[in-house]
Each structure stands twice: as structure tokens, then as C-alpha cells.
């Protein structure tokens, strides 16, 4: 009796699942090419990229699936596999860990067109990289700090994760700029050493694994540990707001120079209020847009969209109090769409 009851329950559950999946999959099936846009996580940043991708999809008449993995590389491979299984005509991906994901990237390249965006995988068979040069963006960030603090001082860097190419390059760019080194993006300074020249001392780089509360705690710990600290650089989108919170609560807004990355609303407001010197922004909208544009052409057999150097540069921009109004209007425009 009990067995039969549980059998019924199973049937009902399976029935619902089937209905649910059918409902999900019942979008209109056209002959349009289908492309995939895979991010390296879930963030407001990627929501903007999503807008760009969808705008391009309409414009160039393709179907785009934007996929945001909640759990990094594991989620990426899961999503890529399902895209490949659906037989998409091209995939744009921001690889979380390009070195160890070589196999996954090869698999994409063998089955369909592979391009990278946001973070590159130069060793792979990707046809093109759509994005900014993270090393140069990092240097831009360093430049902002130099201008705000020409006399020099002690600096701590905050970042979500190391080992991901764009993060490593960003950090290296800041360090090289502050140390007045030549442009060479292959250097890697170790994390646990103090790096210094006659003007600037980079005391530490703290990694928070995307835990916002921890990011804030680490700023507080740095303030406690280095009472003489002069500047902080937050390299992931949520770092500048967390730095701002902690520094404000410590009452040290006048003592600490803050430079950020990306365009969190709190960051922008702080720039306007003069609490943050400036930020370096990418253009995720263009990442999405360009990726889909390129994939759409490739899917229709047009290889001419690929430039010689296999790099479509979406340059980073520096936002300070001077140009913040223009930038915010632009942003409004995109999200308003």
C-alpha cells in the first residue's frame, strides 16, 4: 500500500517536472543561429553585459543564451556542456581559470566557434578576445592613485580572487605603475611580500573569496594593523564600497585615499562626494554586444570580423569627478533599455 502510494507520488513529481521543462523550452523555434555567452559568475556587471548581448542578438538576428555560473569553473563546464549538447553555433566565454580549463576550451573549439571575453585565454584556440587589457587597466588605476597622492605612501590592495588571469593582470598593473616599471604583463609579484620603492610601499594584497562581509572585515583589519596607512585600492566591483564602509566607520575618510575598480552605485556616489578619488571602468555592455556580433557573423560563415591581432579592444576608462555625470547618463541609458 505504502509502496503504491510512493509510486503515485513519483509519477506526480515526474509529471510536474516534464510539464515544467516543456514550459521552459517552448520558446519559438526559428532557424536563427544560436550562440552562448558564458560569464564567470553572477554580478550586476554581468547583467549589463547581458543587456549588450541581447541588444546585439536582436540587431544581428541570432538567439543568445546568457549563462551565469554560481560556482565558478565547475558551473562553467556544466553550462558549456549543455550549450554544446544543444549544438550552438558559437560560444563566448570568460574563463575563470584559463590554464586549468584548457580541456574545456579545446572542447568548445573543436565543436563550434570559441571566443573569449572579459578575461583572455591566450593559449587556447580562441578566435578572438573581446575585452580590455586588464594589465593596462590596472596601470590606469595606479595612475589615478599616483595623481591623487604624488608624495607617495603606504598602500594595501584588496581583491576577490587571485589566479584568474584578469585579476592577476589588474593587480600587476597597479603594482608596476606604482613602482614605475616598464610595461611588461608577464611579471608576477608574490602575494605575501612587501613591494616598495622610494615613494610607494605596497604592504599587502588581501583576498576575500567574494565574501562581502569578509571583504569589509579585511579592510578593518588592515586599518588596525597599519595605523599609518595612506591608500587602499579595491580591484573587484564590490571592493571599493566595502572599503568605503569600513573607512567611513573608522572615521578615516580624510586619511585614506581610495581608488576603485568598476562602477558599483556606491562607488560612483562616493566619487561624486569626493570620498573616492576615481575608478577604472570596463564596458561590459560592449563585451556582450561585441561578442554576440562576432559570433553572429562567424555563425553565418563570415570570418572577416576577426582582426589580425585577434583582439577587439574595449578600452577601460577612468572615471573621476570630472566625467562622472556623462558616464552615469550613459549607464542609465543602457539599464533603462
Amino acid at each position: 500500500m505504502l509502496q503504491r502510494a510512493s509510486h503515485y507520488v513519483h509519477c506526480v513529481v515526474i509529471g510536474f517536472l516534464v510539464l515544467f521543462l516543456a514550459a521552459c523550452g517552448s520558446s519559438d523555434e526559428a532557424d536563427r543561429p544560436e550562440v552562448g555567452f558564458v560569464t564567470n559568475g553572477i554580478a550586476s556587471f554581468w547583467v549589463i553585459a547581458d543587456r549588450g548581448a541581447n541588444t546585439a542578438a536582436e540587431e544581428f538576428d541570432v538567439e543568445v543564451s546568457v549563462m551565469m555560473p554560481p560556482d565558478g569553473p565547475a558551473g562553467q563546464s556544466r553550462m558549456v556542456e549543455s550549450l554544446l549538447a544543444r549544438g550552438v553555433d558559437g560560444i563566448a566565454i570568460s574563463p575563470s581559470d584559463p590554464v586549468n580549463q584548457a580541456g574545456l576550451l579545446d572542447e568548445i573549439a573543436q565543436n563550434t566557434y570559441l571566443i573569449t571575453h572579459d578575461s583572455d585565454a591566450p593559449e587556447s584556440q580562441r578566435l578572438v578576445y573581446v575585452g580590455m587589457d586588464n594589465y593596462e587597466a590596472g596601470r590606469m588605476c595606479g595612475q589615478l592613485l599616483k595623481e591623487a597622492m604624488p608624495e607617495g605612501g603606504e598602500v594595501v590592495l584588496f581583491i576577490g580572487l587571485l589566479g584568474q588571469l584578469n585579476a592577476d593582470l589588474r593587480r600587476q598593473g597597479v603594482i608596476d605603475e606604482l613602482m614605475d616599471r616598464s610595461h611588461d604583463n608577464s611579471r608576477r609579484d608574490p602575494v605575501d611580500q612587501v613591494i616598495a620603492n622610494e615613494r610607494y610601499t605596497i604592504l599587502d594584497t588581501r583576498v576575500d573569496q567574494f565574501d562581502f562581509a569578509r571583504a569589509k572585515g579585511q579592510v578593518e583589519d588592515a586599518l588596525a594593523r597599519y595605523p599609518e596607512l595612506d591608500a587602499m585600492v579595491g580591484l573587484f566591483v564590490y571592493n571599493p564600497p566595502q572599503i568605503l564602509e569600513a573607512v567611513r566607520e573608522a572615521g578615516k575618510l580624510n586619511e585614506i585615499t581610495i581608488v576603485g575598480f568598476d562602477e558599483d552605485a556606491a562607488t560612483l556616489q562616493a566619487i561624486r562626494d569626493g570620498e573616492i578619488v576615481g575608478t577604472v571602468v570596463q564596458n561590459p555592455y560592449r563585451y556582450g554586444y561585441e561578442s554576440v556580433r562576432v559570433l553572429a557573423s562567424l555563425a553565418r560563415g563570415d570570418q572577416s570580423v576577426i582582426p589580425e591581432n585577434q583582439f577587439i579592444d574595449i578600452p577601460a576608462r577612468r572615471i573621476t569627478v570630472d566625467n562622472i555625470d556623462v558616464f552615469e547618463a550613459e549607464l542609465e541609458d543602457i539599464i533603462g533599455n
Binding site: 547583467v47 605575501d192 573569496q209 567574494f210 562581502f212 572585515g217 583589519d221 564600497p241 556606491a266
Partner: protein, 325 residues
């Protein structure tokens, strides 16, 4: 109290060692911060302790924190509801969730691990869906409300007691009073030790277990409110990830047995303090962040084994003295 010696020892040892190695550790600013984090994590650990005392476990804490963290700014800022209404809605939702957990565990006889694991998945998913994966926050509004999380009660000079820590201490006294001073607390301890005997003593064990799950979810939700006010920037996919494990670790460090029945609220507070102190020590001593988990895992093991050894020695001693008499 005998049981708390090991963990108190760890607390003092880490404190003294860090203070010696890094004088800046003892600044008012740093101590305030550590106390604030202890407050925030201690609150959710007390909830975890109540569930663990019944012999269950609550894995949904982190996701409840995320859901609350998304809901509160959305309702307050985007929808523009009044604070009282938002708090009422929150209370209703949390109560429903707690009863839901309790009923599944007691009436359907599902394992607590399974029920709350599904809670973990469901609430995280809801939080992400509600927010559309967009980061939520209060912006620069609600500064008054935010004082609940970031405010301080001035004591002397620079030093002020962070409000979350004050809340934790009040909550700890209330919880300890509930657990050790009321009929319901006695019932929880009894059924945690031996559910069948408790039932045979006329205790409505199903209802009491449900009460424990409600307390678990309520404190997680309240903690979640404070967390969201503190960080002011809630990314629904990652906010509160693994916090249930911190809460469980603090409860276990503080002397709760996962077999049920054992538990001291003040032990849990000390357990939470040890964990936050360790995080602070790792950062302030400049130990590479990569080693964080390894160090914390080691300290939990040391603390728990010390307690166990002390307990056994005490039991042996007790046996000896009873034999002698």
C-alpha cells in the same frame, strides 16, 4: 562550566599570542571590529545551537541570511514600505519557514539534514530570483537603521561597544534563561538527550522540535538583517555562503553535541568569539589568506579535543571519588 575550560583557554591563548605579536591588535578600533563581528556571527550561532540541542541541524542559515538580505532593501528602498511593515512581513516569512522545517522533520519524519539542505537550495534560489542576481543595498539611506549594525555605545575614550555585540549579549542572556530557566528549555534539553523518554514523559516533542527550528530560522533572519545593514551591498548569489557552517562550528566549539541534549549558550558565544578572533588574528598578523581555513579547522579540532579530554579526565575523577566514598 567545566566544559568551557578548553575553549576559554583557546580564546585567551589566541588573544594573548596575537597581542604579543602585533601591538596594533589591542587598539580600540580593532577590538571594536572583532566584537562587532562576534556579535553578528554569535547571533546566528545561538540559533544553530538550539537546533543542534534537539539533535538536529540547520543548514539553511546562510541562505536565510541571503534571502533576508535581499528582501529587506528591496522592500524598504525599491518598494518603499514602512519599516514596521517590512519587519512584520519578515517575521511572518521566517515563522513560516521555521514551522515548515519543524513540521517536515517531526510529522513527515524527514532527516533534518535533508530538510534544511533543501532549505539552503530553495532560499538561495528565491533570493537570486527576487533580486535578478543584482546586488542590493540601502545606498546612503537608512543610516539610522544601519546604526543597529555599525553603531557603538561609547564607553571610554575611543572605545565603544558595538551594538551587534550588545544585542548578542542580551540575546545570550535571554536564550540561556529560556534554555535553563523555563519549562520549554527543559523540554528541549530532555528531548535532545532522549526523544522517546521525553515523549513518554508527556512532552509534545514534535511541537518542541518545531519551536527549535523556528528559533533557528528567526535568529538567522535577524542576523541576516544585521549583516545586510552592515555590509550594505548584498550579492544574492554569494551573500551568506557557508555561514551555516560558521554557526555550526561556533556551536560545536562552544560545547554543543551534535548528538543532542548538550549545550551552553555562553559556550556558543565564546565559540563565535574564538572564530572571529582567529579571522582577525590571521589578517592582522599578515598570515596568507590561503591558510585561513586550515588554521581555523585546526583550532576547532584542538578546542573540541581539549574539551573531550577534560571531560574524560573529570569523569574518571568523579568515578574515583564516588568509589572511595
Amino acid at each position: 562550566m567545566k566544559k568551557l575550560f578548553g575553549i576559554l583557554g583557546v580564546l585567551v591563548a589566541v588573544f594573548v599570542l596575537t597581542a604579543i605579536l602585533e601591538p596594533n591588535f589591542l587598539t580600540a578600533y580593532n577590538l571594536q571590529n572583532t566584537l562587532r563581528w562576534t556579535g553578528l556571527f554569535g547571533i546566528i550561532s545561538i540559533g544553530a545551537a538550539f537546533v543542534i540541542i534537539t539533535g538536529g541541524i540547520d543548514l539553511s542559515t546562510g541562505s536565510v541570511i541571503a534571502l533576508v538580505g535581499v528582501l529587506v532593501p528591496m522592500l524598504l528602498v525599491d518598494v518603499g514600505m514602512s519599516l514596521v511593515l517590512v519587519l512584520l512581513i519578515l517575521f511572518g516569512i521566517l515563522l513560516t519557514m521555521g514551522i515548515f522545517h519543524g513540521v517536515l522533520v517531526t510529522k513527515l519524519n524527514l532527516q533534518p539534514f535533508v530538510v534544511t539542505l533543501c532549505g539552503l537550495l530553495i532560499y538561495r534560489g528565491l533570493a537570486r530570483w527576487l533580486a535578478g542576481d543584482q546586488t542590493q543595498g540601502f545606498g546612503s539611506a537608512f543610516d539610522g537603521l544601519r546604526q543597529l549594525a555599525i553603531g557603538r555605545i561609547p564607553i571610554a575614550g575611543d572605545f565603544g561597544l558595538p551594538i551587534p555585540f550588545v544585542i548578542l549579549i542580551v540575546l545570550a542572556f535571554l536564550s540561556a534563561g529560556f534554555l535553563h530557566g523555563t519549562v520549554w528549555g527543559r523540554y528541549l534539553l530532555a528531548l535532545g538527550h532522549n526523544e522517546e523518554a521525553a515523549r513518554f514523559s508527556g512532552i509534545n516533542t514534535s511541537r518542541m522540535i518545531t519551536v527549535a527550528y523556528v528559533i533557528g530560522v528567526m535568529t538567522a533572519g535577524f542576523g541576516g538583517l544585521l549583516f545586510s545593514l552592515d555590509v550594505n551591498s548584498i550579492q544574492p548569489a554569494v551573500h551568506g555562503n557557508f555561514y551555516e557552517l560558521y554557526a555550526i562550528a561556533a556551536a560545536v566549539l562552544g560545547g554543543c553535541s551534535l548528538r543532542g541534549g548538550e549545550g551552553s549558550i555562553f559556550g556558543v558565544v565564546i565559540g563565535a568569539a574564538v572564530l572571529r578572533l582567529l579571522y582577525n588574528a590571521i589578517n592582522i598578523l599578515g598570515i596568507p589568506t590561503q591558510l585561513e581555513f586550515a588554521i581555523i579547522g585546526t583550532v576547532i579540532l584542538v578546542g573540541v579535543s581539549t574539551d573531550e579530554i577534560v571531560r574524560r579526565l573529570a569523569a574518571r575523577h568523579e568515578l574515583k571519588t564516588t568509589r572511595d566514598t
